[in-house]
Symmetry: C2
């Protein structure tokens, strides 16, 4: 049998298959990207396809209306092939998986974050942004009958003359094989790029005179989104910036589903390819073009990624990470080279992985903690990273406690029917008029961009506004009626942010009671995590002197709204600071600075991990937090419902 | 057009081609092995093929008789394709290129050479045969909820417990990717193989409990023949031994022709593949099977090879080696790993290349010099390596002089019409009855093996016996007539060692005046090289206290005959020692012993190179040596012609 996938905006893909094959599995095998955040168990409703010709066997789903079913829409995870068919894979399916974005330079605000990090670290932390990478311009005399020194010695002498600290010079194979050719083609005037470490200069690249930069790549590999900057290793300048969805998304939205997929035959390779070949390498290639540099000039790479992401990146068996007793292959490991992963970079470039401290607090958090400078501060600091799940660190220069919350992917648009990431078409900010119940929305993208879905910051705003205006109650149920409040045949309420006519896609963008319930559990997990972490050191929210909130949940987060719904503790708003992608900022520091790298490992070694699931009182705290704002409203004196 | 090669004893190969294509080039492109030691200039006559169907355009050649021409025999280097044809590639063509030979263990005599080398070096040179490679049997406790140490730390601790000198433990990518899997599959009982160097233990292999050896490969890459032993790195025992022809032979018999071929498009890759993929890897694979070890257990490799061979092996541009001012890419280089060349071995295994000291005195000679122990001796020692060309070293612990002779490949059977290497069917020793002129021959192979051709030691014997018995004169011309002496239509004489009926192949095995002339030039080059080297230090042959003769020219060499024809100086025969393949013996020492490796580099650094071609008096010396035994017969009082 044959199934043809008609990909909206792409070329069709035909696959041979057998009767009974699952349509989603088939798409994965054929590398056809269909979003399936729930990894194919029918709960998320994102893997919609339209059967154009032929028939499939499938069950009804609450995610497909009767009219849609009639028109051929199905959840692909829920379809068995019973004959040849022709399947439309709508582009809306990839709305969740954002398109790649690259830029020559990041926006001034973004550049400012990196500049600030450099300044903080150098001035406050006494951590200079210097590293061991060098570019040397060399001019040698050509050999003669009187001067018959072999090429390698000629080069070694020239390097030692230019870099007197290099007592030894190491020439690896990649340089050796082209040495004779390059020296003669370039008339013995060459540029050598390499690393000076422990008196040994290792040549990493040999080319003709070249005044382009030596480059580092700082990378945040999120479960959902991958972000990257190329930096000039000589001065820390940002050369290019880019991001895209993590290609692993089609294997599941969360780390558990990814690990399960990786244990299937060929799974480790498939997951590794999805992040390396489909995600990192295209971004690296684009950024090199933007910055006008050769990939061979990328001499150093630092990666902030959670434990599962860095295990799947390396290609090790990640199953022990999720199975009792939860043992990662590594916390810290310094043996990786770009060539091992076939990254688009100099194959000899070391790949620094920010250290994990446990199965569920990984390098993204240690890199982020490095970036906050809380390890150097007297102030009691709370650091919250809202990614897929959420991780929390609390402490100061004297101690650091951390925990991971089972918040799920709601802050990145997962588990929300119209959720999406903060890319073009995402509602990122919302206010609702108390009287008319009409929304005013801010949408990511160019002016005139219509609405596609809702991203994390938009969800926080919507729920806060629905609660403030009394449209929903403390349990998240709809209690007012109006044009914007709809109910389905089972009576489930939803609030319409954009009607089918108003939206970009022709499908209504709304938030329903299931979404709200999912979100309340997510925010409850965050709040109870903070609460438990504070309790574990006998402190209360009023001890908090500073709060850093990180995460790619929009251009920022409305802290007032986040406090209003009881997601974040009700402390003075001026204590809150949104710091963007702290994992990326930390990776930037690590790629630029040997000492920052050492410091991150020191911070990780000193950080205590609190396992919430077995901590006494955590479940009670979580249940109490699953209300708007909280069962104990005295904790949120500033949360308002304007009845 | 299509050409089909019918390979005797193999499958036919069909190639598309154009009118005018050269048949030998076509065969090379199609990887059909046709010997062409002269690289296709028509001089060697080895590239014979038989046109079975169709026609080709070709010139007559002195190497093809009229009857042979009539029957369809041609020199393939000399054929242009003019239409479809069917070409027989006879197996005789590959007689020159010996079949691979491998054995579980080498013969007792061969083992004795290695044992002697170890004994000499350890006892006389105070160079212990110890190295930095280790196999560690580890037993760890499995992780529990109380012991959640990550796998990498668990392994690092176990290694440090087993090897207290390992202050640091390095886990490379190849081990990391399988760490979690192997630990669990093997219940945390594993064997680690690796290298302890400068306080750091580098894991090179991780596997289940394994009591097989950690292995080193010692390799001699000759221009003509490649030989190899696998050794147990823990005690120096020989595990397996093998050899085969160097697959590069189809690109030319000597280094100059190989370099020229390597400069053609794709040439460097083709020459590298010919030695790595077609030669080294098949031998390595066979030896691993013989020894019952995994290729991953080969942790260290040492290679003795001349400058061109090691440049072509690495894949660097070798053209500067042959072009004025003759600049190699490297003399000494320690950056190579087995993985760089994709050798059948542990990819992390260092590949030690014995150091070159010039374009024409390479690592085979420095390794050989190491093996002779002359660097540790008071005796004035002469070391002669008869390979393709010949290299000479003279000196003792106080000084070492070396030179390369343009002797060509005659000692390995090249430049000789019925020449072949010392493999099955080669005549390796000859006596001739003075009266009857009948030969008595010793043939390599099982009893009953018939004659295929003549190898180096057989050529020396034949010419010496022809001279002793007065069949040829001092110029190498035939002066007696008889059944065994034939003349062709031009009057050129030849001596028949085996008639067409007596031979294995149905072709006469003989030695003609051109062969003898070629050989006299070769032996003259060796003698005049020795003479000039001695002159350069104001010495004469009677200063020589010891002579080592090395080279794969048979199971040995009849020194009396070599002196008789004026190839080697006329000193007491008991000073002569045949030491077999000294490059391989030296590589054996280097793979086994860190100190032997250091010593070889020290010997190379202290060795002076004498360029014969520009040395005053060398040409006169050469011309004087191109007689039997020499124009100045007083130099050879023991050379006899029984008139």
């Amino acid at each position: 049998m044959k199934v043809t996938f008609q990909i909206e905006g792409g070329s069709p893909v035909q696959v041979d298959c057998n009767a009974g094959d699952n349509l989603l599995e088939l798409a994965r095998r054929a590398n056809v990207a269909i979003d399936a955040p729930c990894s194919g168990n029918g709960s998320c409703g994102k893997c919609r396809v339209k059967i154009l010709e032929g028939e499939v066997e499938s069950f009804p789903s609450r995610h497909i209306t009767d009219e849609e079913y009639e028109a051929g829409w199905r959840l692909s995870c829920n379809c068995k092939v019973i004959g040849d068919c022709n399947v439309l894979v709508p582009d809306i399916a990839s709305a969740y998986q954002s398109r790649m974005k690259t830029a020559d330079l990041s926006s001034p605000e973004e550049v400012a974050i990196f500049e600030q990090a450099k300044k903080n670290m150098e001035q406050e932390g006494a951590i200079p942004f210097t590293n061991s990478f060098r570019a040397l311009q060399l001019e040698m005399t050509a050999p003669t009958e009187e001067d018959t020194m072999p090429d390698i010695e000629r080069l070694q002498w020239a390097i030692q003359a230019a870099e007197p600290e290099a007592l030894k010079v190491q020439i690896p194979y990649t340089v050796m094989v082209k040495l004779a050719t390059v020296l003669r083609e370039e008339n013995f005037r060459v540029t050598v790029k390499g690393q000076l470490k422990d008196d040994t200069f290792t040549c990493m690249e040999l080319c003709g005179y070249d005044d382009t930069a030596i480059v580092g790549a700082a990378i945040d590999i999120g479960t959902t989104t991958v972000s990257m900057v190329l930096v000039d290793l000589s001065n820390g300048a940002i050369l290019a910036k880019g991001s895209s969805g993590n290609g692993q998304i089609r294997f599941g939205a969360d780390v558990i589903n990814r690990i399960i997929q990786s244990t299937k035959p060929g799974g480790r390779k498939a997951l590794q390819d999805a992040v390396v070949k489909e995600t990192l390498n295209p971004i690296l290639g684009n950024l090199c073009r933007s910055a006008g540099i050769s990939a061979k000039s990328i001499l150093n790479i630092a990666i902030g990624a959670n434990t599962t992401m860095n295990h799947l990146l390396v290609g090790v068996d990640a199953d022990p990470v999720r199975m009792d007793p939860y043992i990662p292959s590594f916390f810290s490991w310094d043996g990786l080279k770009a060539g091992d992963l076939k990254l688009v970079a100099n194959p000899l470039a070391p790949v620094i992985i920010a250290p994990n401290i446990g199965s569920y607090v990984g390098g993204d958090i240690t890199a982020g903690t490095l970036a906050t400078m809380m390890w150097d501060s007297d102030e009691m600091t709370l650091f919250i990273d809202l990614g897929t799940n959420g991780e929390i660190v609390f402490g100061n220069r004297d101690f650091l406690m951390s925990c991971a919350c089972s918040a799920g992917p709601a802050f990145e648009g997962g588990d929300i029917s119209c959720g999406m990431r903060a890319t073009d078409g995402a509602v990122e900010a919302v206010t609702i008029d108390k009287e008319t119940m009409e929304p005013t929305v801010t949408i990511v993208g160019e002016p005139g961009q219509k609405c596609v879905g809702i991203c994390g910051s938009g969800i926080i705003d919507t729920i806060s506004e629905l609660y403030r205006t009394g449209i929903i109650n403390a349990k998240g149920l709809f209690v007012r009626e109006g044009d914007r409040v709809k109910r389905d045949e089972h009576g489930m309420g939803r609030y319409v942010l954009a009607t089918a006519e108003e939206s970009e896609t022709g499908r209504e963008v709304s938030i329903n009671e299931v979404d709200i319930d999912n979100f309340i559990r997510a925010k409850g997990a965050i709040y109870s995590g903070i609460d438990t972490l504070l309790q574990s050191v006998d402190m209360t929210p009023d001890c908090i002197e500073k709060v850093y909130v990180a995460g790619g949940i929009g251009s920022g987060i409305n802290m007032k709204n986040a406090v209003n719904i009881g997601m974040l503790p009700d402390v003075e708003l001026e204590k809150y600071h949104y710091i963007g992608n702290s994992s990326l900022t930390g990776a930037y520091a690590m790629v630029m600075s040997n000492l920052a790298n050492d410091k991150c490992h020191e911070v990780a070694a000193n950080m205590t991990y609190l396992e919430l699931s077995t901590y006494p009182g955590y479940m009670d705290s979580f249940v109490a937090a699953c209300f708007l704002p909280h069962t104990d409203s005295s904790l949120f004196p500033n949360s308002v419902q304007e009845m």
